[in-house]
Amino acid sequence: MSTHEANILVVDDEFAVRDSLYNWFRKDGYHVHAAENATEALRALQDQAFDVILLDIKMPGMDGMELQSRIHTIDPEIAVIMITAFGSVETAVQALKQGAFDYVTKPIDPDELSHLVHRALEQRRLQKENVQLRETIDEIGAADTIVGESPAILKVLELIRHVAKTEATVLIRGESGTGKELIARAIHANSARRYFPIVPVNCGAVPNELLESELFGHEKGAFTGAQHRRKGRIEMADGGTLFLDEVGAINPKMQVDLLRTLETKEFTRLGGSKSIKVDFRIICATNEDLEVAVEEGRFREDFYYRINVFTIEAPPLRSRPSDIPLLAEHIVKRLARQMDKRITEIHPDAMQLLMDYAWPGNVRELINAIERAMVVGTPPTIQPEDLPVWGKRSTNSFSGESLADVEKDHIASVLERTGWNITRAAEILRVDRVTVYNKIKKYDLRQPATRGGKK
């Protein structure tokens, strides 16, 4: 807190003391307010916030001790420094016990007063910073939430709410990057198991021979290299949720083991003989067509039915383009904080590009695109040229697949990029300007209202 932002209230019935301290603190650049008694002080507290209050213990009417206790009730974070006459230190100590910051004895050593006020303000600054950091942490913690207002995402949220309170096994289906883990975490966070861990395992990322040990753990010497006993993910998820991503990658042998564990709530570590009891909920996710896998014999039917009790479909981003602005802004806000970069907004043209793009990689691709734009972009705005989708054909906006449609879309896209500069567009298209004019006429292309308002 800079000196010039700090507010100090001096409460003393003696004019000379009030006046002296008022002037003393003004010279330090503080905003100073003086009050003659408790009533005036309480009125001042109603009108504005103070960082430090210097309070005379001995005053007629409500004394400093009582006022200090009232101030503590109004705002316990105000640093109250008690001013006491020589010989009444015991009272001051009593004030400290009631929450006063410190006390000074009259006459006050200027050096001591200066240090005391600096210390009080520093504490106040740290308190404020602490609150701000807590808020930031809360925001960061809440950052990985499901963002969107489209009917598709609202339906997902409703399903999450519905299933979270139950113990049902959930199968989340959806393309890569649609936020299946986020849905799993949301279910866990809204369930009675939320105070226990959610343990994610990406089954597709771990070779099957290692996955078994990863899930079930192993005893020392269970296999070559097993030098220590190790807990598996299932054991780690005790009380909480086990999230099996890319569940289709698990081989049928392990599916049997998992099925047994799900049925009996017991399992044995690799190389062990002792049965271990566990209590966990299982949520699985897949981007595979498990029905086909069952038909082809790659996935056991009994395990499929065991995990497919309740299904949630994670919608692809292209099915909810109306959510893109909200998502993009949310991502910008989160990344700006993480990257400590003051990018706060996305230019409307850049946003349009984001909305027009088909996002085959879904939200993950959108996050990557915005992260890249934030690396190359200049604060405070992400411009169209910062985006990796810049210049990419927007599959969403394609009007058709005939050669004429493709030509029309390509010319329109080049004209848009060049701001309808025919010469530049002709250069890019490697045709002469007349051809560009002819194509514009042929396809009835029209220049939208430009940023500068020109038509």
């Binding site: 000196t3 010039h4 003393d12 003696e14 000379a16 003391v17 006046d19 002296s20 301290l21 002037n23 003393w24 003004r26 010279k27 330090d28 650049g29 001013i83 009259k106 006459p107 006050i108 050593d109 200027p110 050096d111 007063l113 200066s114």
Partner: protein, 179 residues
């Protein structure tokens, strides 16, 4: 040219420093310095219970002596000054006002049992006088440790800072029509 009225009283060991001080202040603030005896009795500010002089009362007296124009008045003394509630002050001033007072009492090595140094006393007196007059031009304490407007509670603090304004304080002074 604006005028600075210097009013020395009970200057003791600092008496022969006044001329040099006036020259320095004239140069720093771009003012014409006029020298006046006090039109008040300094003893009115004496507090027998503390054996010190109340700088608030001295400021009020100096204000009475100041003409009603945009000039400033600076009292210079070797008396030990205090403001009620504080044990001592090196000087005092009205922020954005007309009057300031500075004392050499606690700037003198003699008080600390150190070898007397006229040069050091002069430099300290100049710094504190410039500092207090700075307040009358609406400057508050500066966080730049080298700036003369840095608050100094102890004598070593006075020695550490320079006798010059930092660029920010200088700009603020110019804004207030000084220099």
């Amino acid at each position: 040219m604006p005028v600075l009225h210097v009013v020395p009283f009970y200057c003791g060991t600092a008496t022969d420093l006044i001329d040099g001080l006036e020259e320095r202040l004239a140069r720093v603030f771009g003012v014409r310095v006029e020298h006046h005896p006090p039109s008040f009795e300094p003893e009115v500010a004496y507090d027998a219970s503390r054996g010190q002089y109340n700088s608030r009362i001295l400021l009020a007296q100096l204000l009475r002596q100041a003409p009603a124009d945009d000039s400033r008045v600076l009292g210079v003394t070797a008396l030990d000054l205090f403001i009620p509630v504080l044990t001592y002050v090196f000087g005092e001033a009205q922020v954005n006002g007309k009057a300031a007072v500075v004392s050499s009492h606690r700037l003198d090595n003699a008080l600390y049992g150190l070898p007397a140094s006229h040069e050091l006393l002069f430099e300290r007196l100049c710094k504190e006088a410039i500092h207090e007059l700075g307040h009358t031009y609406n400057l508050v304490h500066c966080h730049n440790a080298e700036c003369v407007m840095t608050s100094s509670m102890q004598i070593d603090g006075v020695d550490l800072k320079s006798d010059r304004f930092c660029s920010r304080c200088k700009a603020a002074l110019r804004h207030n029509g000084v220099c």
